[in-house]
């Protein structure tokens, strides 16, 4: 058995890629920054694998806290894969939640969150950080 800390995922952010912090014990994934990396597969694949194994083996709920100001289209494509995993977990009775945080100065981020939300039925909150 590995300790819960070993199950955590932590990826530092850069100008073109968001920081990622996935905490197994807390059941929380936090992403923060802008996402237009050269290789979006490299960045997102590890996160998708983490979420997939979490949803398949952890007992408790999963919350995604997303502070994403901008995503290029290939990052958006990978976010769809993540939300699809959450949707099927939700349909089999798992508690999942997305909190999409946006800055009022960047209305496009709120619109992007709303476009994601309209394709899913699991709880998806779009919240202003200025409120």
């Amino acid at each position: 058995m590995s300790s819960s800390e070993e199950l955590n995922l932590s990826v530092p952010g850069s100008q073109s890629s968001p920081s990622i912090r996935a905490d197994w014990k807390a059941g929380v994934v936090v992403m923060s920054g802008e996402s237009y990396p050269e290789n979006s597969f490299e960045l997102y694949d590890q996160l998708i694998q983490w979420i997939d194994s979490y949803l398949n083996s952890a007992e408790h709920s999963l919350t995604l806290e997303l502070h994403l100001n901008y995503l290029n289209t290939s990052s958006i494509r990978f976010m769809i894969d993540i939300f699809d995993l959450l949707q099927s977990a939700f349909e089999s009775g798992k508690e999942v939640l997305v909190q999409w945080m946006f800055d009022d100065r960047n209305p496009r981020s709120a619109e992007l969150g709303a476009e994601f939300k309209e394709d899913y039925t699991f709880p998806f909150l779009i919240l202003s950080i200025n409120a």
Partner: protein, 182 residues
């Protein structure tokens, strides 16, 4: 022909006459894309008209330059062949023009022109529908790591239809140019 100081002043005049804010011509790398992107964002944030969304201009610029980078990578093009021309200029009434051009195979260029022509006939609602449909395509079928999605994204952020042209070059290649007004 070696560049002279007088050609520099005429280049400068050309830039001023076309209200060019940022221009790049050369081998495109991830670092170059990122640095120009930051400069662009800073510039627009301090100068933009209130109704303009800074992120729209940034997004169009990123999709265009990453499409070129992906094309060069997937076709195994050399540094000189993967050279791109990227221009960001002020346009009428507080708008911005984002233009980018690169070397393509003639057939690829013709397919792009056709695709852009089709997108020009779509209204915003149809573009959103196309975008959602493309997002649902499996990864393997997404050509050039998302070029299809990139063009739809550019069309959605643009205030008028994209303009594109293809100039034939030797060896069955062509220079493809694309302009979007945001």
């Amino acid at each position: 022909m070696t560049i002279s100081t007088t050609s520099l002043i005429s280049l400068r005049e050309f830039f001023s006459n076309h209200q060019i804010l940022i221009c790049f011509n050369g081998p495109i790398s991830t670092t170059v894309i990122g640095e120009i992107g930051s400069a662009l964002k800073e510039h627009i944030e301090s100068n933009h008209a209130p109704e303009l969304e800074v992120m729209d201009v940034f997004s169009v610029y990123i999709e265009m330059s990453q499409n070129i980078k992906n094309y060069a990578t997937s076709h195994g093009l050399s540094d000189s062949e993967s050279s791109a021309t990227v221009v960001i200029a002020a346009a009428e009434a507080g708008h911005y023009a984002v233009c980018a051009g690169n070397l393509v195979e003639m057939g690829d260029g013709q397919a792009l022109l056709e695709r852009i022509h089709d997108l020009a006939d779509c209204d915003k609602a149809q573009l959103k529908q196309l975008y959602k449909k493309q997002l649902r395509q499996p990864h393997a079928q997404t050509p050039g790591q998302g070029a299809g999605l990139g063009l739809i994204e550019i069309a959605r952020r643009s205030s008028q239809p994209m303009e594109a042209s293809l100039d034939p070059l030797e060896h069955g290649r062509a220079f493809f140019s694309l302009r979007a007004i945001i």
